[in-house]
Structure formats: C-alpha cells, structure tokens
C-alpha cells in the first residue's frame, strides 16, 4: 500500500499514454467534431486523423496544457483543413443557394409574405437552456447547404473573423454575407417550425 503512494508521488516527466486516449477523449472529440461538420462518418475520420497526428507529435506535448486541450487544438486544425479542402474540391456555386430561396420570404414589394412572417418562439428565455431546443438547433444546422453551414460554424462556433473565413472557404466578402444571411433566415424558420410544433 505505502509503495503505491510513493510511486504516484515521485516526480515524472509529463507524459500521456496514447493507449488511454480513445477511452478518455474519444467521445468528447467526436462530439466536438460532429457539432461542427455534422456528418458522422466525417466526424469519425477527423477524430482518427487527430489521434494519429497526436501520436506522431506526442514528443512535442510538453504538458503546458491538458491532454484534452492539446487534442482539441489538433482537431480544430483538422476541421479547418477539411473545410478548406472541401472548398477547393467541390465545384459548387459559391453562394450555395439551392436550398434557401429568399423569394420564399418576401413579396415583390420586399415585405414579409404572410406565411413567412416570424411567429413568437414559446418561452424564448428558457428555450436557450433547454436541451430539446439545442437538439432542434443542431438538426436545423444539418439541413443547411454544406458550405453555408461551414461558414456558419466557423463564424458562430469558432468566432472567426469574416476575413479568415473568406480565406478558408475561398469566397468573397459578399458571398460570405449572403451565406450568413441565408443561414440565419433558414435556421430561424426551421427552429420556428420544429420548436412551435413540439410545444403545441
């Protein structure tokens, strides 16, 4: 018994055991990725890339931060690289406008169409704290066109500047503002639909 205590108290170089990473941080990293990229397979791949990169670089882990913070730092870079790669590879319309038609919201006089007028959210102040609201929000994010969702998560989850995001996604500032506007108008509408229906 006393021997065990001595062992754990003896000074050791800062070390992390990769064999425990999957059990200790796997779920956490996966959820972190899933929130941002939404596609489960892609999120799994990003976790794998992160752990393999960490394995190679573990000599450099000097213990200034926790292992978790260090791994999340690597994962963040992997997610941004993934978005960057998407924007280089996919030859889609940069405004990504197929799924969000702004004409569905306003008439030709630029007034709200009757069926697009915003309805009240029930209990807006409590909703934010509500687990079901968060679930609805994340599933609404999933319905956005891919690049619009990428712009939205870099802006609202990573708190990046529009310049950084335009650079990563290879879009113009004008594309960016249009995408953010489409994301917000579509998210609000989707939340209104799912949240109102749940609370009827």
């Amino acid at each position: 018994m006393p021997n065990q205590n001595e062992t754990s108290n003896s000074p050791k170089p800062v070390e992390t055991n990769p064999e425990t990473w999957v059990d200790e941080y796997g779920d956490y990293l996966y959820r972190y990725a899933l929130m941002r990229v939404r596609d489960p397979n892609q999120a799994e791949d990003l976790v794998q890339e992160t752990l393999l990169a960490a394995l190679k670089a573990r000599k450099n882990f000097a213990g200034q931060s926790t292992v978790k913070t260090w791994l999340v730092g690597i994962l963040k870079h992997k997610i941004i690289d993934f978005f960057r790669k998407n924007s280089r590879e996919k030859l889609v319309d940069p405004s990504d406008n197929s799924d969000v038609e702004l004409n569905d919201f306003f008439d030709k006089n630029k007034q709200w169409l009757p069926n697009a007028v915003p309805n009240d959210f029930p209990n807006p102040t409590q909703a934010i704290e509500n687990e079901e609201f968060t679930t609805a929000l994340l599933s609404c994010l999933e319905k956005l066109p891919p690049r619009t969702a990428e712009a939205f998560s870099l802006r609202e989850m990573e708190d990046m500047s529009s310049e950084e995001i335009c650079n990563i996604l290879d879009i113009t500032p004008n594309n960016f503002w249009v995408m953010m506007h489409r994301a917000r108008i579509a998210l609000r509408k989707c939340l209104e639909n799912s949240w109102l229906n749940q609370n009827k």
């Binding site: 990473w21 999340v72 915003p118 802006r155």
Partner: protein, 91 residues
Amino acid sequence: MKLMPTCNEAVEMMSKSMDMELTTVERVGLKLHAFLCIHCKKYWDQILMVRDAVRQAVEKQESEESTCSLKPLPEQRKAELKALINNSLST
C-alpha cells in the same frame, strides 16, 4: 439609398451587423425600421437568440456540462482506433 429600408433590406442589414460594422446611414435606417416594424423587430430578436443558443451549446459541450444530445463515438470505431494506436506504438 433612401433612409428607410424595406423589410428585405432590413433583415439583410441585421445579419450584416452581426458580422461587421454598418455605416451610420445603414445603422440609423435599420433602427428606424425595427422601431416601426414589429415583424422585423421580432426577427432580429430571434436571430440574436439563435446566436446565443449556438454559443451556449458550444460552451456546454466544451465544458462537458452537456453532450447536447450528440451521440458518442461508435464502439466499433473506438475498437478500430485503439487497435490502430496500439499497432503504431508497438512498431
């Protein structure tokens, strides 16, 4: 541009104001419109609320206060990852 924006222009400016500085004319026009138009005012409050909700969800997941109902890493993939790690540790 005329001072008073249309609803369509107003909601565009609302979004823009969340990512960048508006010009003084835009800012005044937007405030005026939101003061007079109940629909746009509601829209503005709600997109700001959505922004807060996203930030809270991110914080809760990061602090492990909540899983935000996101599923865990599938067991099969966990086993594969462990094998992959053990493999490269032993070589």
